[in-house]
Symmetry: C2
Subunit: 181 residues, 2 copies
């Protein structure tokens, strides 16, 4: 399983690709797209084309995004939404599925504490992925989103395995992922 | 000049293509993308692929979008932003430029009154484009955005012509379009 995490932004957009091979967590690549402060449609076009390049270079199987429920103001929500839309469109263009997690779920999965600050997320990412130095905050947030999806998927698979060993099924209703959103 | 107007939405997304040939306004095509109420990333992927089909079928030279400054709430702003981002990414994927206009500018350019209601916009669109019946409101809003861009561009060109006939230039500073935003 190879997951692209994106921290969507129209000024700086973080991205990070991780691979989960058995119990190993591998850092495939990460970085930031610095779109500057020019015309918004040009910035979004840049984010879109750079994300397509990342998708083509690293061939992830899934896209993981942070799902915000709050924003500084309505204008800020419009801008975050635009960047998220562009990321989802890029994933759609390459036929990969999108999963969304709340900031609290993402922090909890990598730090173990849902209200961790940015520095704690950076440190946890560097430790989990054995990075030689701390990643930039935007790249760290993207890697955290990617890890959250990978680790959640692994947990789901283990639960399913355990249930099937006991001849049980997960039952009807919402999936684990949906249920925890 | 052939303009695609989009009224971005993640449930219903309106689109309309108009051509401006001299003083004639021609309705090339219009419709709505009904994305339903399922998974948001699937809806955005559908809007993206349908807009790409529209772009490929009608080959517009410009994309015109309504630029909102208000939303019912922050969640609604996220959703509108996502749909706008997808539309801009589709335009970027086909290499066409994006222009944005406020709702007031769009209404003023087609109805002559910036606070016109939806029914007045529909009636004005049907009259200006000689449509046999009223378009759906989402398609009408998209056609209005397209016409606004076309008519504003035509006005700009006439002003530039008039100034050049008199040996004047537009002077430095913001362009007409920016100045009126």
């Amino acid at each position: 399983m190879r997951v692209l995490g994106v921290d969507p932004g129209t000024i700086v957009c973080g991205w990070g690709v991780v691979e989960l091979a058995g119990s190993r967590l591998i850092h495939v690549g990460s970085g930031t797209i610095d779109a500057g402060r020019g015309d918004i449609s040009c910035r979004l076009a840049l984010v879109y084309s750079e994300l397509l390049s990342v998708l083509d270079e690293h061939s992830p199987t899934d896209l993981s995004l942070e799902r915000n429920f709050v924003a500084r103001n309505v204008q800020s929500a419009f801008r975050i939404g635009e960047a998220r839309g562009v990321a989802m469109a890029a994933a759609a263009a390459r036929g990969i599925g999108v999963s969304e997690y709340t900031p609290m779920m993402i922090k909890k999965s990598v730090v173990g504490y849902g209200k961790a600050d940015k520095a704690q997320v950076q440190a946890a990412i560097a430790r989990l992925l054995s990075l030689p130095e701390l990643p930039r905050t935007d790249a760290a947030d993207a890697l955290a989103a990617a890890l959250c999806h990978g680790l959640t998927g692994r947990f789901d698979a283990r639960v399913a395995d355990a249930l099937s060993l006991r001849g049980l099924s997960r039952g009807r209703g919402r999936s684990w992922r949906t249920a925890r959103l």
